[in-house]
Symmetry: C2
Subunit: 637 residues, 2 copies
Amino acid sequence: MVKRYLSLISLERAIDLTLTSFEKPDKKISIPVINSVGRVSATPVYAKYSVPEVNLSAMDGFSVRSRDTVGASDQSPVTIVDFTQVNTGNIVPPEFDAVIMIEDTWDKGDCFQIRKSASLWQHIRPAGEDVREGQLVLPEGHRIRPFDIGALATYGIVNVDVREVNIGLIPTGSELVNLGIRPGPGQVVESNTIMAQVFLGEMGANCTRYPIARDDPKTIEESLCRAVEENDLVLISAGSSAGTRDYTAEVIESVGELLFHGVAMKPGKPAMLGKIDDKPVIGLPGYPLAAQTVLREFAGPLLKSWGLPEPLYHTFRVQLSGSLVSDLGFDEFIPVSVGHVGNKFFAIPHSRGSGVQMATVKANGFVHIPAFTEGCDSETEIDAVLTTDPGNIERTILLSGAYDPALDELAHLVRDNGIFMQVRSAGNIGAVLSLRHNSCHAAPLSLPDFSLLPNCREIMQLLPLSDLRFVHIATTSLGIASLGGYSFENLITTRFINRRKGTSARMIFDTILKSRGIDPAQIDGYGHEVETHKAVAEAIRNGFADTGICTSGVAEENGLLFVPLVGEQLELAIRTDLMKEPNISALVSTIRSESFKLSLANKGGYNLSQTGLIRCLSEDFSVKEHHSPESASAPLL
Amino acid sequence: MVKRYLSLISLERAIDLTLTSFEKPDKKISIPVINSVGRVSATPVYAKYSVPEVNLSAMDGFSVRSRDTVGASDQSPVTIVDFTQVNTGNIVPPEFDAVIMIEDTWDKGDCFQIRKSASLWQHIRPAGEDVREGQLVLPEGHRIRPFDIGALATYGIVNVDVREVNIGLIPTGSELVNLGIRPGPGQVVESNTIMAQVFLGEMGANCTRYPIARDDPKTIEESLCRAVEENDLVLISAGSSAGTRDYTAEVIESVGELLFHGVAMKPGKPAMLGKIDDKPVIGLPGYPLAAQTVLREFAGPLLKSWGLPEPLYHTFRVQLSGSLVSDLGFDEFIPVSVGHVGNKFFAIPHSRGSGVQMATVKANGFVHIPAFTEGCDSETEIDAVLTTDPGNIERTILLSGAYDPALDELAHLVRDNGIFMQVRSAGNIGAVLSLRHNSCHAAPLSLPDFSLLPNCREIMQLLPLSDLRFVHIATTSLGIASLGGYSFENLITTRFINRRKGTSARMIFDTILKSRGIDPAQIDGYGHEVETHKAVAEAIRNGFADTGICTSGVAEENGLLFVPLVGEQLELAIRTDLMKEPNISALVSTIRSESFKLSLANKGGYNLSQTGLIRCLSEDFSVKEHHSPESASAPLL
């Protein structure tokens, strides 16, 4: 057995070591005030002079002595002979103590009349009203906002001292190529230090990316020592796992001290922390989502403790749209999409693969499952930290159910209406549960022809049928997908990949096998079960199987040949009371739009003759076409 | 009468005109992905290739055929002879469909044993797991986040099309000087276009600042026409009021159309909107806070409607820490400091002077009083929009009561503990009301010597005495302030400035006048009343009066000579139950610190012999020294 890590320490302990093992660098740099937004003042800032420096008129009119105006009224106007005309911003001569607006005066040649007395200081901006010379404008540690910059400029402040941290970023790995070069098979673009530069740069850090260090201890050591010398903090990317080519830990130990290697968290387990010349060296795992975790949970808080401003996160209390298993003893971070259903917020978890960057791109937040829990059921409330504008939550539609590529097209089109549609691929059973728990806005179902619905009684009778509308997305086929164009007859001679028991595809497949008298034991791979149509097609595309059952759209999307067996209706089930909700109404309108049908026609594999039809089902599965007044704008098909 | 504005329209109508009168420019620019954070994608972004492109190992170990591993267990290990060694990220040869981790194998020379079967796909990252070639990565209109940039780089995207709006910023006004030049009397630094550039630049707009245009219609017209030609939107600063030198409106009318001039809002009434060559021209008022309102309420939403991301605002439901009058028919925006007292959020309004930029610098948010209300009483709940990190709210201490410059020193020192202390200058009466309503954390009171407290019975008996601790800040004096060093005997021959009835200073002054047999009518300016000590000193400093009553600290701060009349105690009244609260405890420790006493000693005008003493008062005003266990770390003086 190979020992992968020196020892695995808890996230809490790892963060504590990161925050307490180093001196704050306390560096500052003087920058032009106009470039200082978002930066943090490193010294108190004082006004260079008073603003205004002398008493100024706040209006266009005449500066007067207030005592000359006493007693003026409509009945007995007072004539003012001693005055100067002033515009807004003009100096009020010292002998005057009030300004009368031009519209409150009646011109009489070289004097004027007034009908109301002027109070002391009226319409005068006294010297120092805004700020006094030498007055504190910003204390140390103030995060500078756009409108602060206006004030600083007004007060004569041209440059401002801001806190500065210099960070060196070292990518390591012989498989890396620089952005702009097309990676060959097994190569990847070096993107972790780009991501780190942008993330830490947003906090005001000054990042230097060093050249890619090949997998060679000497090269890594040279680069590391140079970066430590030139910076306050060094992040070294990859080489932090325990493979034959992972040298980071040993290099750190050879020139400094390794404080930890391996943290009980996912993603990000290979994280490490070193100390070289009293400076911190953080080891970023190579997998992008693991690197993100280390940037967010270690580098960010360290910079914050050094006085840089943390990114602003919004937190929402959410329920998960399904239960989530996590490893006891591991802190886990999972990208989610949060949406607002009824009076609750729900979160759909995305892929947890630490190499799946699309998960964070699609997500609008993440959840943190603490180490002492084994997961969350769908009843538990947890905090979701948002990574987008919280306003997006109210424009997010959560779908939970049977996945089909048609839903990606739909998501793409509703996005033009400013709506974010997120699909949790959970099969028909997930759709039923979500509809029952009211934890999604709509649930895609993959159903047989409605005349055959009684065959799906087990699933259908679990649905709150009387409360639902079914919007027909498309008719697709269930059939045999393969690269070789195999049909049902070839199943026995090929490697098959199966769907899990309980799914409608599996039930239909088993029914067909039975009707044709085929023994499942004859089929190589009958026991290899995957969760979704998509997983079937991907297994075949990637060469793990030759044949499998999926829908025509999924086969088409994966470039597979397809032999249809039976028709399938892709229906979107929506609670009736949600149909009038603006986002849902926009979603339904999009399904009924010509552009949606056109996009599916271009994809191929769909029958669109009933797309957009809205139906309801009674308890005995009799169908009623529904002429929805809320979508009257789009003609029923 | 001069007509100041063409017509005053409502804020709602003005915003509506701004958002509906122009075509969206729909421009885009291709920029390096690394510079794209915060920008908004202008076209959908697709992956250049699949990631991974081929099946890769997700672990360090051996790639095998899963069917070769069937049946392996501790009792009957299976020997694997057909395999390749792989590190994380290595290509899995097409003949293999699983990876076994190195630590799960027992080396036997040119083969190895396993004690657990490998499942299909185990530890393999199948081709396209993250993204497939041509798959949509970002839809159009996506605000790019730091971690998105990592994904884009991984997927081979070097440049990205982002939405772009070009904005021309024209400062006008002969009184303006450029930043870096010391303004003479009556001159000001041109800071509005700097502020606009930073504010709009944060939204991703590309701003060009044009040279300062002097007050001359021809110069302004030339600059305006050039800016309109070169940009999608033009902001022209100042010249939007109606003084003799305000030409902006007439210039717009001469070359285009004036859509509105004058909006029923404060600050920002002189706002205007023009249309030249079908492009919008927004007139920014010259006063900085008025310019801020127009930037935030007009320019920001216009850019948002053009697809740029709005700044992220947090909103808190707050009560005002006192009533606030506003003009019926005017939408009003007032800078506030929000803090958390008990289980409610309270907001202290700052100065509403539209030239007082320090108000927005000190504030952590603003409130919007809608046009149809005449103001807010302290019971009404309204929304405060935050301009800082919402976490700052929990670190904000609200004080309401008698102002003294010692409080500025205190605020400066507690800021080093990360605490924001905001003082509402509301006099002793304001202190009493805030303590009764529990709408502040602590209330500074300006009191006579405690032995004379029964003389202040009217005020003191309104206090919840049994619930309060009094922390002694300093002993100061009430006396005659002047530039000429006048004493009580000079009051009759000088211009006096008085405090309002009901204030403790006025009561003491009236008592002294009476005891010396002086008729108030003899004193020139006895009827000129101002609210605070500070206002008295400023009136004298600015030449509006010769003499007045204020405290020694305030006189000192304003550079005035001072003749003491009677001692005053500056006490901080705090509810007993708040004394242990961490922020308050830090505040009290700061008052008791040597550095606070040193800073007041340096200012001058304070007796510090009792600073930090904590006392309580019983109903009959008998004093008890309080040995607070919660501040035991600092020795009682």
